[in-house]
C-alpha cells in the first residue's frame, strides 16, 4: 500500500453487471439547470429538414457536445448548431469539429461511454456513414443507447458520385446494430429525433439510434414546422430517460470493449439481438406517449394510408420516404380509374423490421407492390423484408417488386401510375418481372 497521504473522495457505490457505479459522482441537475431554452412556447417556423433536425437536438438539455464533420447533404445540421451556439453567450453547449467521419464515430464512443446519461448526436450522409463503419458496428453492439446518428440519405458509390437523396447508405448499414427510423417531412424529422433517445436509452433497449431522412428532398427543402417549448420536450424525455443502470467511464469502475472468446461472443450477440427485439415493444409506447404530450402522431412502425377496417385491398403499396406522398396524392384517383381498392404503408422502422405488424397489415392484400429506392442486386432491400414477413402465411399475397427514384430522382405521378399498373398486372395473374426499374413513367 502507498506510504503517501492523498486526498480521499469517498462516494457510495453499487455493483452492476458491468462493474461498479458511483451514482453521486455526476450531478445532472446542474446540467439541466444550465440549459438555455431555444423556444419557451410552441411556435411555427419555416425551416429545411437539416434545420429541423438541428433544432431538435439543441433543445435537449442532455446534449452538451455536438461532434461533426461536414458532408453534403447533411452539412447544414452542424452549421445550424454552430450558428445557434455562437449566438448564445449563456450556453455551455459546444460544437466539436473533428477531422473525419471516422473520428466523429470514435468520438461518439468515447463521449457516450464517458457519461451514459447525456445524449451525443451527429449527422452524416453517404460515404461519411461508410467511413464511420468500422466504429458504427462497435457502437451498435456497445449498449450505448445515448448515441444518435442522424443519416441524411444519399447514394454511396463515388463511381458515379450523386449527392441526392437515395437511401442506399442507410440500407447498407442494416446490420450495424442501430435502430433505424426513416422519416419524411420536416415535422416527422423533428418529432422522431425528439423521441429517438427515449427509445435508445430505454433500459431494455440500450441501443443507438439512426433516424434518417432523404437528402435534398427533405434536407434542403423548406416547410412549416411546429416546434415545442424546450421545457415541454424535457418533461416528455425525462419521463422516459431514467439514470442509466450501468456505469459510464466517469461515474464507474468499469471496462468497455473487451475482447471475448467465441463461446462468449454468442452471448453478447444474443443479448444485442434481444435488446433490438425489445424495440418492437417499446417504440409504440414511446410514440403513444408523444402523441399524448404533443397531439401529433408519435413513433410508429409505418404510416398507413387508405386501409379499410376489414383490411382487404386489391393492391397494397409498401415504400418509404417523401416520394410516398406522391402515391398518397394519386391513390384515390387510381382507385376510381382502375376500380380497385388500393392502400399503402410508408415504412418508418427499418431496423428492427416490424415483420409481424407488416404481415398483419398485408395479409389480406391480393398483391403487394414494394417500391425500392436503393440499388440492390436482388429484388430490393424492402422487398426481401416484406417477403420474409409474409413467408409464414399459408397463402401469402403476390409480391411485385419495383425500383424507382434511384440516386434521388423524383418518382413522378406517371412513374407511380406505371408501377401501379405493374401491380395490377400481378393482381390479374399476368407475368411480371421479379424486379423492374421505372423512371418518368416508363420501365427501364
Amino acid at each position: 500500500m502507498s506510504t503517501i497521504e492523498r486526498p480521499v473522495l469517498p462516494l457510495a457505490h453499487e455493483p452492476t453487471p458491468s462493474g461498479e457505479i458511483y451514482p453521486d459522482a455526476i450531478d445532472l441537475e446542474r446540467v439541466r439547470a444550465a440549459h438555455v431554452d431555444q423556444f419557451t412556447q410552441r411556435e411555427q417556423v419555416t425551416v429545411d429538414g437539416n434545420t429541423a433536425a438541428a433544432l431538435a437536438v439543441l433543445q435537449m438539455w442532455r446534449c452538451l457536445i455536438y461532434p461533426g464533420f461536414p458532408i453534403t447533404p447533411s452539412t447544414k445540421w452542424i452549421e445550424t448548431i454552430a450558428s445557434k451556439i455562437a449566438d448564445e453567450p449563456r450556453t455551455k453547449k459546444k460544437v466539436k469539429l473533428l477531422e473525419a467521419e471516422h473520428a466523429v464515430a470514435d468520438y461518439l464512443v468515447g463521449a457516450a461511454a464517458a457519461c451514459r446519461d447525456l445524449i451525443f448526436s451527429t449527422a452524416t450522409s453517404s460515404v461519411g456513414l461508410d467511413h464511420m463503419t468500422e466504429t458504427t458496428r462497435s457502437l451498435g453492439a456497445s449498449g450505448l443507447g445515448n448515441v444518435m446518428l442522424i443519416d441524411v440519405y444519399r447514394a454511396t458509390a463515388n463511381f458515379p458520385l450523386c449527392i441526392e437523396g437515395d437511401p442506399s447508405d442507410t440500407l447498407a448499414h442494416r446490420d450495424d446494430g442501430f435502430i433505424q427510423i426513416c422519416t419524411r417531412g420536416k415535422q416527422q424529422i423533428y418529432d422522431t429525433i425528439l423521441q429517438a433517445p427515449c427509445l435508445g436509452m430505454h433500459p431494455e433497449v440500450l441501443t443507438p439510434t439512426m433516424p434518417g431522412y432523404y437528402g435534398i428532398k427533405d434536407s434542403h427543402r423548406s416547410a412549416r414546422l411546429t416546434v415545442e417549448a424546450d421545457k415541454a420536450i424535457h418533461a416528455f424525455q425525462d419521463g422516459w430517460i431514467q439514470p442509466c443502470p450501468l456505469p459510464g467511464l466517469i461515474n464507474g469502475d468499469t471496462a468497455f470493449g473487451n475482447c471475448v472468446t467465441s463461446k462468449h461472443f454468442q452471448g453478447f450477440k444474443l443479448s444485442q439481438r434481444r435488446r433490438m427485439e425489445n424495440v418492437l415493444r417499446v417504440l409504440p409506447a414511446v410514440g403513444a406517449d408523444f402523441e399524448k404530450h404533443f397531439g401529433r402522431p408519435g413513433l410508429a412502425f409505418f404510416d398507413e394510408v387508405g386501409w379499410p377496417e376489414h383490411g382487404s385491398v386489391d393492391i397494397a403499396v409498401v415504400g418509404m420516404g417523401p416520394d410516398f406522398g406522391t402515391f398518397e396524392a394519386l391513390r384515390e384517383s387510381f382507385e376510381q380509374y382502375a376500380g380497385l381498392q388500393v392502400a399503402g404503408l410508408a415504412m418508418r422502422l427499418l431496423t428492427p423490421f416490424p415483420s409481424e405488424a407488416v404481415r398483419r397489415r398485408l395479409e389480406k392484400a391480393q398483391v403487394v407492390l414494394v417500391v425500392n429506392q436503393a440499388h440492390h442486386y436482388g429484388r430490393g432491400h424492402l422487398t426481401l423484408d416484406v417477403v420474409d414477413a409474409l413467408s409464414t402465411l399459408p397463402h401469402p399475397p403476390r409480391v411485385v417488386s419495383a425500383f424507382a427514384g434511384l440516386g434521388g430522382a423524383d418518382v413522378s405521378e406517371a412513374t407511380w401510375e406505371r408501377m401501379l399498373e405493374q401491380a395490377r398486372a400481378g393482381e390479374d395473374g399476368r407475368h411480371v418481372e421479379p424486379a423492374a426499374f421505372f423512371h418518368e413513367g416508363r420501365p427501364l
Binding site: M1, S2, T3, I4, R6, P7, V8, L9, P10, L11, H13, P15, G19, E20, Y22, A25, I26, D27, E29, R30, V31, A34, L64, I65, P67, K92, K94, K96, L98, E99, A100, H102, A103, D106, Y107, L108, V109, G110, A111, A113, A114, C115, L118, T135, S138, P247, G248, L249, I250, G252, D253, T254, A255, F256, G257, N258, C259, V260, T261, H264
Partner: protein
C-alpha cells in the same frame, strides 16, 4: 512530484492476469504508468486494438486493469478503461476529456479526471496517424502513450512505419535478395512536436526515474503529452525473456531510439546518448541481441562479441549512418522551443 521510492509504493491500475509475454515492455510500461496515475485523481484509460488490448482486457478471463482487489470506496482511485478500434485511442481520450471538462464546467462533476490513451505504433503511426496528429493539433489535455515495438505484433510481427531500417519482419523478410526493411522510420517525434504537442518524449521504463518524472509531467501538461515508449518485443524482435530492459537501454544508448524529453516553450534534451558515435555502445552490440538482425551480425567465436557478417558490411555501414543521423536529428529537435 513523487520520489522514485515513494512511487514504488503506489498501487498500479495494471494488475496481474494479463497474457502478455513474460517480460513484455508493454506490461512494464503499464505497471509504471499505472503507479504514476495513483495520484488522487480519477483515471480513465483508452486503448486501441493491440497486443495490449487482447492480452489484458479479455472476457471472461481476468481483466488486468483496476485498482485494488475490490471497487475502491475512494472515487479518486476508481478506474475505467475503454477499448475501440486500432486508431481510435486518442479520439476516445479526447471525448472523455471533453465530457469531463464540460461536466466540470457545469459544476456537475467535482472530482478531476485524468485521461491516458494507449496505442501501439501500428495503431498510432500507421492506420491511426490521422487520429494521433489531430488530437494533438486540437491541444487536447490528455496523455498519449504510444508503445513502439516497431511492428504489427498483434497480427504477426509485420512491418510498421516505425520499423528500424534493415530489420527482418514477416512482411519485410531478410533474404538473399533483400536486407530486410528498406524504409527509414517515420519521424514521429518531430511530427508530434510540429502538430502542437505540449510534451513529447521517447522514453521507456528502462530509464526508470526519468520515465516516472516524465509521465508525472505529462499528466499535468496543459496541452497534449505524447510519450513514445520504445518497446522491445520478445517474440517479434526474437530475443530471450529477461533481456527486455537491457535491450531497451542499449537501443537508447547506441542511438537507435535515443531517450528524449521535450516540452513546448522549454525545449528538450537527449539523455544517455552522446552525439559522438565513439562515445556510444557499438551498434553491433544492440543488433546482436535480436535475431531480427541475424542476417547482419553474428557472434564472433573468438572474442565472444558481435561482428558484422561477411557480405553485410555495406548494409551495416548504411545502418550506422542512419543511426548517426537519427541521433543528430534528435539533438536538433531538442533545440526547438
Amino acid at each position: 512530484m513523487t520520489s522514485y521510492k515513494e512511487n514504488a509504493t503506489l498501487e498500479s491500475c495494471f494488475r496481474p492476469g494479463s497474457t502478455l509475454c513474460a517480460g513484455c515492455m508493454e506490461a512494464i510500461a503499464f505497471q509504471n504508468v499505472g503507479r504514476v496515475t495513483d495520484n488522487g485523481v480519477k483515471t480513465v484509460f483508452t486503448i486501441g486494438t493491440s497486443c495490449a488490448e487482447v492480452s489484458s482486457l479479455a472476457f471472461p478471463n481476468v481483466v488486468a486493469w483496476g485498482r485494488g482487489d475490490a471497487p475502491p470506496d475512494d472515487f479518486a482511485r476508481s478506474f475505467s478503461i475503454l477499448h475501440n478500434v486500432f486508431e481510435s485511442a486518442p479520439t476516445l481520450a479526447e471525448a472523455v476529456r471533453d465530457v469531463a471538462d464540460s461536466l466540470r464546467d457545469h459544476g456537475a462533476l467535482s472530482a478531476p479526471v485524468q485521461v491516458v490513451a494507449t496505442s501501439g505504433d501500428g495503431g498510432a503511426l500507421a492506420i491511426g496517424l490521422r487520429a494521433l496528429l489531430h488530437t494533438i493539433h486540437r491541444r487536447t489535455r490528455v496523455t498519449i502513450m504510444v508503445l513502439v515495438n516497431e511492428i504489427f505484433a498483434n497480427t504477426g510481427f509485420q512491418y510498421s512505419p516505425a520499423t528500424t531500417p534493415f530489420a527482418s519482419t514477416s512482411t519485410t523478410p531478410a533474404g538473399a535478395a533483400s536486407p530486410g526493411n528498406m524504409m527509414p522510420p517515420l519521424d514521429y517525434v518531430h511530427l508530434a512536436i510540429a502538430a502542437g504537442a505540449g510534451l513529447v518524449a521517447q522514453l521507456s521504463p528502462a530509464h526508470g526515474k526519468l520515465f516516472q518524472k516524465t509521465m508525472e509531467r505529462s499528466l499535468v501538461c496543459e496541452g497534449t503529452a505524447v510519450v513514445f515508449v520504445p518497446a522491445p518485443c520478445i517474440t517479434g524482435w526474437k530475443f530471450d525473456d529477461g533481456q527486455t530492459v537491457e535491450i531497451a537501454t542499449l537501443g537508447a544508448r547506441c542511438g537507435v531510439f535515443p531517450a528524449f524529453v521535450w516540452e513546448r516553450g522549454k525545449g528538450g534534451a537527449v539523455k544517455d546518448c552522446p552525439l559522438d558515435a565513439a562515445d556510444r555502445p557499438a551498434l553491433e552490440e544492440f543488433l546482436g541481441t535480436q535475431r531480427r538482425f541475424n542476417h547482419l551480425v553474428r557472434r564472433d567465436p573468438v572474442t565472444g562479441g558481435f561482428a558484422v557478417r561477411e557480405g553485410s558490411e555495406e548494409v551495416v555501414a548504411r545502418f550506422r549512418d542512419w543511426t548517426q543521423a537519427n541521433v543528430e536529428r534528435m539533438y536538433r529537435l531538442a533545440e526547438l522551443k
